[in-house]
């Protein structure tokens, strides 16, 4: 076995030189580049992390602003709704009050018109009834229109209070006796006799004719009137009918 020491030494030197060459031209630049890439990646990661944190902060801030805006909007909407409700209630109340007033006025007008219409109808009906009664009475015998009412007139005088009858007796002016037609002498005597009997003393009568009485008599003194005629009866009936209808 033989060893070439020159070759051994040269090979050792060669390997050491190769170590230097590869360290200089392979390992160092490649490792530096890998470290640079790793640093860049770390830097990018840090930047991305910072950007993400910033984005998260922005998102949180935006969410808070959105919530605040939503709260303000809700508050304003609620306020507007409340104001609207208040205005609506006020308008409704005013409208209801106005409508109630209008309705009350209309009802009053309607009632008034209805009352007037009813009164007119009643008046026309009463007048029509009186006319009918007058036409029917006109068909009765002429003496019946006076003779049949003398007793009633005397009964009315008898029903007067004593003071009223006394005042009639002391009257200076003659008593006015209205008849539906002119009295005959006989009828005048009968009237004078029965009135004096009802009053208890003689009286002076001033005769007059009033066709409106239809039938019957009316005795008028300064302080009293005694009626016993159809006109008075019809007026009383008309009054009662009119008052009953109302």
């Amino acid at each position: 076995m033989q060893i070439d020491w020159w070759t051994l030494g040269l090979q050792a030197i060669n390997v050491l030189v190769l170590v230097f060459i590869l360290a200089r031209f392979l390992f160092r630049p490649v490792v530096a580049l890998m470290a640079e890439r790793q640093a860049a990646a770390t830097r990018d990661l840090e930047a991305a992390r910072a950007a993400r944190a910033a984005a998260e902060a922005e998102r949180t801030k935006a969410a808070a602003e959105t919530a605040a805006i939503a709260a303000a909007r809700t508050e304003k909407v609620d306020a507007a709704l409340a104001e609207g409700e208040a205005r609506k209630a006020a308008l409704l109340a005013a409208a209801r009050s106005e409508a109630d007033g209008l309705r009350a006025a209309a009802e009053a007008d309607i009632a008034h018109v209805r009352a007037r219409a009813e009164a007119a109808v009643d008046d026309r009906a009463s007048r029509l009834a009186v006319d009918i009664a007058a036409r029917l009475l006109a068909q009765l015998p002429d003496d019946t229109r006076v003779a049949a009412f003398i007793d009633g007139l005397c009964a009315g005088l008898a029903a007067l209070p004593e003071e009223a009858r006394a005042s009639l007796a002391v009257a200076e002016e003659p008593l006015q006796l209205k008849a539906a037609r002119a009295l005959s002498t006989e009828e005048e005597a009968i009237c004078r006799q029965k009135i004096a009997a009802a009053l208890g003393h003689d009286v002076t009568l001033a005769l007059s004719v009033d066709p409106n009485l239809i039938a019957g008599l009316e005795l008028t003194a300064p302080h009293a009137i005694v009626r016993n005629s159809w006109r008075a009866a019809l007026d009383r009936i008309l009054t009662e009918l009119t008052h009953d209808g109302r």
């Binding site: 050792a12 590869l22 490792v31 790793q38 860049a40």
Partner: protein, 237 residues
């Protein structure tokens, strides 16, 4: 025809220095590796191409191997271990070029490599532990072991030499014998096997060198940082 591997004839002389074929081939490998690396690393980019990705993968694999084996930061050892691996690999595979003989098929080259590993082991051990601390490791676990530990240092260096020399020389020798006996294409399967053997021997030599250096510095340095990520994986991110 290959001559005896135990005899080496100088090709020429530079003064008194004989220049043999392994030296010339090693120079060629140095030029090829150095020039190739210079060309390949002139325009490195953060986004690597295929060639740059291959370079980064090789460097990352070397770093990962060193860190896994030594459990220390691989930076101080990267150049030595990586150069040993790449040189031995190229030297073993140089036989693919017709007419060239692997320098590692000669004892002087293997001895030079082993000598470098031996000296590097001592240097890194002394640097990590100090001279006294490193010498104390020879007395572990007891002073009785000092002779054995000294002998171990020498014999494991010799084992490096003999393992690499035997494997490569035998491969070259077998191919030469078969080539002299059989046809031109018959040695091709054996040459393919030599490629595998050469790669395995380069890996074994580098790993053993790492283990020896790692044993010398194992208690004197801090644990290794995280292994640099794979460039391709980094690119994907």
């Amino acid at each position: 025809m290959i001559s005896s591997p135990l005899v080496i004839e100088p090709l020429f002389h530079v003064g008194p220095v004989p220049i043999t074929a392994p030296v010339v081939v090693t120079w060629g490998i140095m030029v090829a590796l150095g020039g190739g690396c210079w060309l390949a690393t002139r325009h490195l980019k953060l986004v690597p191409g295929r060639g740059q990705a291959l370079l980064e993968t090789v460097v990352s694999a070397i770093d990962s191997q060193i860190a896994d084996t030594m459990q220390v930061n691989p930076a101080p050892y990267r150049a030595l271990i990586g150069t040993i691996f790449l040189y031995v690999l190229c030297a073993n595979w140089i036989s693919l070029i017709p007419g060239l003989e692997p320098p590692t098929a000669h004892l002087e080259t293997d001895a030079a490599l082993a000598l470098i590993v031996f000296v590097a082991t001592l240097a890194y051990g002394v640097r990590a532990r100090g001279l006294g601390g490193y010498l104390k490791t020879f007395a572990e676990p007891t002073w009785v072991m000092i002779p054995l530990n000294v002998v171990e240092q020498i014999t494991r260096t010799f084992s490096l030499v003999v393992r690499l020399f035997g494997n490569i020389m035998s491969g070259v020798f077998v191919i030469g014998i078969i080539l002299s006996l059989a046809g031109l294409l018959v040695p091709i399967p054996l040459m393919a096997l030599d490629l595998l053997t050469g790669a395995v021997q380069a890996y074994i030599f580098a790993v053993l060198a790492t283990v020896f250096i790692g044993a010398a510095v194992s208690e004197g340095e801090a644990p290794a940082p995280a292994v640099p990520p794979d460039p391709s994986a980094q690119q994907e991110r």
